[in-house]
Assembly symmetry: C2
Homo-oligomer: 329 residues x 2
């Protein structure tokens, strides 16, 4: 019944076919100069004829590297992370690397389980989208990791991100340019670096108009944005505008306003963050700060792979963001 699959070819087979030793085949395939034109041609013909592909596992054992990187993130279903992964995968595939996905779901147990993959030798490098370095990986050199979007505090890990402080200033400044002064802010989870940076930008832009009662924190979900906004609309002194730390929470804010019979942008101007694919399709289309997610992913992969190859790269500067003005403000 069980038809045996076509036996996988080994380098030995190719060597026999080409009439040389495996050593020569290996050199030919890895582009060594120590192979004559003639022999190389014969080997390439044999490879072509058999469809032979090098066994990465065996090569990996010998070379002590797997040509794979692990991307650790909270939630792959989130469109923000998805697009970053797209960029990472693009560059990695281009350089012949595989990309492993590690979904932590924000659970430390999962994070630890994934970190273990690192120790097993299955992975050469790590891209962190979680905003922190797993405890188990405390003694892994920083040169084998790169962080995206969220800088990792107290660590020398390279980070690829935009200038969140400047972006927040720009967004809030735009609202102020429209005449708004009572501008609220719905940030991400309290206590995280990203949240702090954007809050600081918001605060700096607000200057003397800053009012701590207009600041709330959510968990980046639509529901949390809605709840935060409801809380502020319940108060006597309502804001006339709100700057949200991502688009989902901005959508939540709009839903809250609508529930209070407040029109957007007439009664409440809303600005989001990220410019996820749906931002432009929402009603009203969302004004938001676009992050070059794909490019961030690509750059992160490029930096990591270069570091793995031993290259020293200049510390990455912030990538450019863009305030996309639509009809929600």
């Amino acid at each position: 019944m069980d038809q045996t699959p076509p036996a996988r070819l080994k380098m030995t087979d190719v060597a026999r076919l080409a009439g040389v030793s495996v050593a020569t085949v290996s050199r030919a395939l890895s582009g060594s100069v120590l192979v004559s034109q003639d022999t190389r041609a014969r080997i390439e013909a044999a490879v072509e004829a058999t469809g032979y592909v090098v066994n990465q596992v065996a090569a990996g054992l010998r070379l002590q590297r797997s040509r794979q990187i692990l991307v650790m993130l909270p939630d792959i279903a989130n469109p923000f992370f998805g697009e970053v992964v797209l960029g990472i995968e693009e560059e990695a595939q281009h350089q012949g690397f595989g990309v492993l996905i590690g979904n932590t779901g924000r659970s430390p147990d999962r994070e630890a389980a994934l970190a273990r993959q690192f120790q097993t030798g299955a992975v050469d490098g790590l891209v962190l989208l979680t905003g922190r370095r797993p405890a188990l990986l405390a003694d892994v050199p920083a040169s084998r990791m790169v962080a995206v979007s969220e800088h990792i505090a107290d660590d020398s890990i390279a980070t690829v991100s935009i200038d969140n402080h400047a972006a927040a200033i720009e967004a809030v400044g735009y609202l102020r340019g429209l005449g708004h002064r009572r501008i609220a802010h719905i940030g991400g989870p309290a206590g995280n670096v990203l949240t702090a940076q954007r809050f600081q930008g918001y605060r700096d832009a607000q200057g003397g108009d800053f009012d701590p009662r207009l600041v709330r924190y959510g968990d980046y979900s639509i529901a949390s944005g809605e709840a935060a906004m409801r809380g502020m609309l319940d108060e006597a002194a309502r804001p006339t505008a709100v700057f949200c730390s991502n688009d989902e929470m901005a959508v939540g804010a709009i839903r809250a306003a609508r529930a209070f019979g407040i029109g957007v942008p007439a009664g409440l101007a809303v600005i989001g963050f990220d410019d996820i694919p749906f931002a432009g399709a929402y009603d009203p289309p969302l004004t938001t700060v676009r992050q070059p997610r794909r490019q961030m992913g690509r750059l992160a992969a490029r930096i990591l792979l270069a570091a793995l190859a031993g290259d020293e790269l200049p510390a990455p500067t912030a990538l450019p963001h863009l305030l996309v003005v639509r009809q929600s403000s």
Copy 2:
């Protein structure tokens, strides 16, 4: 300068520490019964003390398996695929497998490049979200793959999906129950199995009211849904409802209606497909057919890993879908 990383421990080190041979350590770690309680305890203590982790690459070479699966999909940034991957990763991680992401971007070249990963021995199994088997993998046994969402025509690959035909009938039947007869359909790319199944359901539900002029095809993007709907609204005999093959195109349809000054659901009832996270947050909240994406991913992984372990699994039956009625219809 370059501080050498802490030397990775080998099984030999653990063996020496426990005063036994590597063979015994290997047996103890793999749970063989051929190890005495006493020795096992000593080995476990040594492992604990050193934090030793088995080198998966070396083990993989010996065992001819990598404990990794590859998920091939068109676009990881798409929320539909993201959620499926989440389910796959959950189950795989649970069983100690790693998940590699392969983004094809619908390019045959990328697909071929990824297929090659399979030949390199870096991957044990494959999950296909692309709706087709890569040409390069023609002679890989079907027992090493599983398809999700889209059944692969003319192939014995196991498929995990809902009953698309029945779901389409249910959705269109619901619209008919509301009194609609001129119901349009915006399907996915023409010529693909999924598109055909849903179209057939639509057609069967419409019966004598079927009108080929009310059928258009998109590419699952918001823009394509909008274009398709505009096309139909330009015609004399407009539809009063539309059944779209995914939520993005449904959003596009709503935008088109709005551009024509047509209200939803008053002037046009809209039903989408998938129930992506934004469907319920849109204005109006989208009526749609929910696919259990995460569960589909989990089941797919379970089936694949079982097959890799040699288990024979019953052909999977269709998972349950759910018509989620909201305000767009």
